[in-house]
């Protein structure tokens, strides 16, 4: 019994000492390896063979002396050497790493097996037990000391560094606000040169400096009225998004690129996702920073949806309810208008939605309600349908109803009415349009009997022209200083903005009562709700082409990437060249009917069908 035990002890001892030796050797090996790897790393880092200065200099020399064959040969040799050095050192570091790992592994295994072999029997700890109270006190003291040290270190950081970035930025932003517009405008022009849409938005060439002045004035005006501001997006940001019905300012122009031209909703070709929208609505989707917003309503329920553009997931959906002053009875609307026909808008800070019963609500981007109010049930026999639009941080609402038309601006942050201007017009269903003429920014509205322009900063009337009648549905189009207004059973007028405004031309062959016209600097495109399309010369009114699409069209055509995107009621997208000849780029079916104007984002189109929301893109 004793003997075997002894034997085992001896064997264990032998095994342990062997393991110890192996561990020591492996540890020394690992140490040497790590030194080698570090040296190799430093060498390669310093030499940076792929960006060799010598090689570059030699190639320079070769350019000045192209006949030097010896130099050429040298370059080739050095290039090969450099590449070899790079890949060899990579290989060395990698192999060294593996070797190091395995040698460390050997050390660990040896030490672990030693530990297992030499199991010691637990013994009594030497000395008495420390006083737990004393330990606690020490611990407590040092926690307190550490806390004090953290405070001292933070204070040192405060004294040693400049904590003035916030102040500097605020200062820069305040002085920068004045030059904001021109900066953004120029940036746009640089980015999209040759794109007529931008010119239309900025009012042609030479608008930069003037635009800056007027923006400065506007800033002051707005600043005087709204007490609490938290900024508004720059023109560049607005152009990079699709913040309202018919895009930035409601001009019908999208500045996005790489817009798809072919898809098929049935087969799923180029359909990135399709999401069912719980409640119906004829409002068109808007897009800001990868989020799509739209609203839906039934007779009893009203909701706002936020959808992730990448996945189509509904990020949040909020019920619009319990609004003070909201009528208990929903006004009667017709089927073609529904309870949620007005498009939403956003200033990049909040999103705004309005419903047929006059409920107006603002949410932040995470779906928290910021404010809400009821504007009073609109007296409207079809149902309120005018979309919202933003000017800086002002939310512009057209509220033309039976008996008392008005247009108002609400502070986006609080919902306070900043200005309200009453209008002596009949009910209209057209949406406000914000245009930049290069001299100033104007807010243009069309309603029986006239087209009126306001200063969006204070609501003062700038000019008006009696040229329209009936129940006005289409919003105006604008490009290059000319406003185009049209209505069914009335006429199409091209008005040149000026003092006084001048009627350039008019026509009554093609009259729309739902889709809005689309103007580029050169052409005016118009499609009637019965599906008859026409292209005029923007300045003279000469017809370039006419085409019968044979399907009703409710959505307004939008210009994107130099092409016209026109969606008919059956969901077929007609993509045309914005040109004087009728050229079809493609026709792509959605596989579902639609009455909503599409929205555009980089490389994608968002279309609201009768039931589903589609994202089209590769």
């Amino acid at each position: 019994m004793m003997k075997t035990n002894d034997n085992r002890n001896v064997e264990t001892h032998r095994g342990a000492s062997l393991a110890q030796w192996i561990a020591v050797i492996a540890a020394i090996f690992a140490m040497v390896l790590s030194i080698l790897i570090i040296v190799n790393y430093i060498q390669v880092k310093r030499a940076d063979p792929l960006n060799s200065v010598a090689l570059r200099a030699m190639i320079e020399r070769l350019h000045s002396n192209p006949g030097d064959d010896a130099l050429r040969q040298d370059i080739r040799t050095l290039d090969l050497l450099a590449r070899k050095a790079y890949f060899t050192s990579q290989w060395q570091i990698r192999m060294g790493g593996y070797l190091l790992f395995f040698s460390v592994l050997v050390v660990v295994i040896c030490l672990k097996s030693m530990e297992l072999m030499q199991k010691t029997i637990p013994g009594m700890p030497a000395g008495g037990r420390p006083d737990p109270w004393h330990l606690r006190q020490t611990n407590r003291m040092w926690v307190a000391y550490t806390g004090i040290a953290i405070v001292i270190i933070s204070m040192l950081v405060v004294f040693l560094t400049h904590q003035e970035l916030g102040k500097t930025l605020d200062a820069r932003l305040n002085e920068g606000n004045i030059s904001n517009v021109s900066n953004a405008g120029n940036a746009n022009n640089a980015g999209n040169e040759g794109n007529e849409g931008v010119e239309a938005m900025n009012g042609g060439g030479g608008g930069g400096a003037n635009g800056a002045d007027s923006a400065g004035i506007n800033d002051k005006l707005v600043g005087g009225n709204t007490l609490s501001m938290d900024g508004y997006p720059t023109d560049g940001e607005i152009a990079g998004n699709f913040p309202s019905f018919r895009g930035p300012g409601g001009n019908g122009i999208a500045f996005q690129k790489n817009i798809p031209t072919s898809w098929d909703g049935k087969s799923g070709k180029n359909i990135r996702w399709k999401t069912e929208i719980p409640l119906p609505g004829f409002n068109s989707p808007i897009i800001w920073n990868g989020r799509v917003f739209l609203s839906g309503a039934s007779e009893t329920k009203r909701e706002v949806y936020c959808i992730d553009i990448n996945t189509g997931k509904i990020l949040w959906s909020k019920a619009v309810e319990k609004i003070t002053g909201s009528p208990t009875q929903v006004p009667k609307t017709i089927k073609e208008t529904g309870y949620s026909a007005s498009g939403m808008t956003t200033d990049g800070r909040r999103v705004y939605a309005i419903f047929a019963n006059g409920d107006l609500i603002a949410f932040d981007f995470d779906g928290n309600k910021v404010w809400d109010k009821n504007l009073g049930t609109p007296l409207n026999h079809y149902g309120h349908s005018s979309s919202l639009v933003m000017f800086h941080d002002l939310l512009i609402v057209q509220y033309d109803q039976r008996g008392s038309g008005s247009v108002m601006a609400l502070a986006g942050k609080t919902g306070e009415v900043v200005w309200q201007t009453s209008r002596s017009v009949k009910i209209s269903w057209a949406s406000p349009v914000i245009v930049n003429t290069g001299k100033r920014t104007e807010l243009i509205l069309a309603a029986d009997p006239m087209v009126v322009s306001y200063n969006p900063a204070n609501g003062k009337e700038l000019w008006k022209m009696n040229c329209i009648s009936g129940e006005v549905g289409p919003s105006v189009a604008y490009a290059d200083g000319v406003v185009y207004a049209v209505n069914d059973f009335s006429k199409l007028s091209a008005i040149e903005i000026g003092d006084p405004p001048k009627l350039l031309w008019e026509d009554s062959d093609y009259l729309s009562d739902i889709p809005s016209p689309l103007a580029t600097g050169k052409y005016l495109f118009l499609v009637t709700s019965f599906g008859a399309g026409v292209c005029y010369d923007a300045k003279t009114g000469t017809k370039y082409w006419e085409h019968e699409f044979e399907t009703p069209v409710y959505a307004s055509p939008v210009l994107a990437g130099g092409k016209i995107y026109m969606l008919d009621k059956k969901g077929l997208m007609h993509i045309l060249q914005a040109d004087k000849t009728y050229t079809v780029v493609s026709e792509s079916p959605l596989g579902e009917g639609s009455s909503c104007t599409p929205a555009f984002s980089e490389g994608t189109i968002i279309i609201r069908g009768d039931k589903n929301l589609y994202c089209i893109g590769k």
Partner: protein, 441 residues
């Protein structure tokens, strides 16, 4: 994608060559401007029967495997909990931790891990566009749930970081009350910063300064390798330095584990105060019996305790105030703020060479005011965030101080439910057999 046959017209070779020539002239005169998505050169029509190669797009790791990971996580947690609570076997826990090291570490290369998942969950809460994959949520929640039931068994045998450090802890030393107090505050700071940076969409610092993931991948930056090496070498003497003094997930596990339902016990039956396990724990996680009386009088202790409790709000505010003073320094991690800083510096100091960021920003055509306003928004978030961070730290220090005032008298050796990793080392030291009958026999 496109096939040559799809073109409606066949362009004569001559026209093509003419186009080519014109385009070449254009290039040489550099009159060209970049237009995205426009084909400058038409695609050739080959006559030699050349077949265009496919553009290869190797796919990523299948999503099904991610679900397998979650299943393996659940099984591992269950197995380790069983080994710890029922089998009480150090050896089996050790072998299982090797499996976890190989699977979650070297095979899965440490991503996604529960520690890093804190940031995904935070980002998911604060950024409504970020959609947290369900597997990441599982990695965050499952260890917490298991800890609530069985103590930190996740640390014992599932976490590959713990397994790796456990392998090298050959000569663990006791650190003493002082070091434990100082270093023990780091995880709270780290957790606070990680949440702050994730919530402001700035960075995932836990992943960025993850020391062991580089070892799992055999690839990392030089600095991270140095950090890992330093941690492992110090790990020979200080057992599990990352787990105890860095790991932010450990903070959460510590809190949850304090209320665990069935925690590991040193003795399977009754403690006989033999003192054998006293030095067994390399993590200083065994609570000794408290039998001696508090040297201070009861009234003095009570007075002190009440004082500290009253001071807790003060600590909280002090922490918030102090940290909010350095919010700009903290915010420099954010890319937008960093870019703004660089832009301001280049505008102030024209001689300095521009960084790539400034150059690329200038070529992007974005208005500078947009960056400024974005950065000032981020700064405001950081101001609020650093107040909250500071308050949190102040509160932690205050509560720690108050907690250190009270002590429960006990006669037994028990593992500290918060800091114990359930590694079951102490179990082997206990001479008490599973049932008392064993002793009498």
């Amino acid at each position: 994608m496109s096939k040559p046959g799809k073109y409606p017209v066949r362009i004569p070779r001559k026209t093509l060559n003419r186009c080519f020539f014109m385009l070449l002239v254009l290039i040489l005169t550099l009159q060209f401007q970049e237009v995205l998505g426009v084909q400058r050169f038409p695609r050739p029509e080959f006559e030699s029967g050349y077949v265009q190669p496919e553009t290869l797009q190797p796919s990523a790791r299948s999503g099904v495997l991610a679900i397998v990971d979650v299943l393996i996580l659940i099984i591992s947690l269950a197995v380790v909990s069983w080994l710890v609570i029922k089998r009480r076997s150090r050896l089996l826990v050790f072998w299982f931790s090797l499996f976890s090291l190989v699977y979650f570490g070297f095979y899965r290369q440490g991503c996604i891990c529960s520690i890093g998942a804190i940031q995904n969950v935070t980002l998911g809460i604060f950024d409504s566009t970020y959609i947290v994959p369900i597997t990441v949520i599982a990695f965050f929640i499952l260890p917490l749930v298991f800890t609530l039931f069985f103590g930190r068994t996740f640390c014992a045998g599932v976490c590959p970081f713990g397994a790796m450090q456990d392998l090298v802890s050959f000569k663990p030393q006791k650190l003493g009350a002082r070091m434990n107090a100082i270093l023990g505050l780091i995880p709270y700071i780290y957790l606070g910063l990680a949440v702050l940076y994730a919530a402001t969409r700035s960075d995932f610092i836990i992943c960025r300064y993850d020391p062991f993931v580089g070892i799992f991948r055999f690839d990392a930056s030089f600095g991270m390798f140095l950090f890992a090496g330093a941690l492992l070498i110090s790990g020979i003497f200080i057992a599990r330095p990352y787990c105890r003094f860095i790991c932010p997930y450990g903070v959460l596990l510590n809190w949850v584990s304090r209320f665990s339902w069935k925690h590991l016990t040193i003795t399977p039956s009754n403690c006989i105060q033999c003192r054998l396990c006293e030095d067994s724990c390399p993590y200083d996680a065994i609570d000794m019996p408290v039998t001696v009386k508090n040297p201070e009088t009861k009234s003095a202790t009570t007075r002190k305790f009440i004082l500290i409790c009253l001071l807790v709000p003060f600590f909280t505010l002090l922490g918030g105030f102090t940290t909010s003073r350095i919010h700009e320094t903290l915010a420099k991690v954010n890319r937008k703020v960093a870019l703004t800083n660089m832009l301001l510096e280049t505008s102030n100091n024209k001689d300095q060479p521009e960084s790539i960021d400034v150059t690329t920003f200038k070529s992007s055509g974005k208005p500078i005011s947009q960056v400024y306003s974005e950065a000032s928004l981020v700064l405001k978030q950081f101001y609020t965030g650093s107040w909250i961070l500071g308050c949190f730290l102040g509160l932690v220090i205050g509560i720690t101080l108050a907690y250190r005032m009270v002590m429960i008298y006990r006669t037994d050796y028990i593992p500290n439910k918060g800091t114990c990793f359930s590694c079951t080392r102490c179990v082997d030291y206990c001479p008490v057999e599973r049932n008392n009958e064993g002793l009498t026999k």
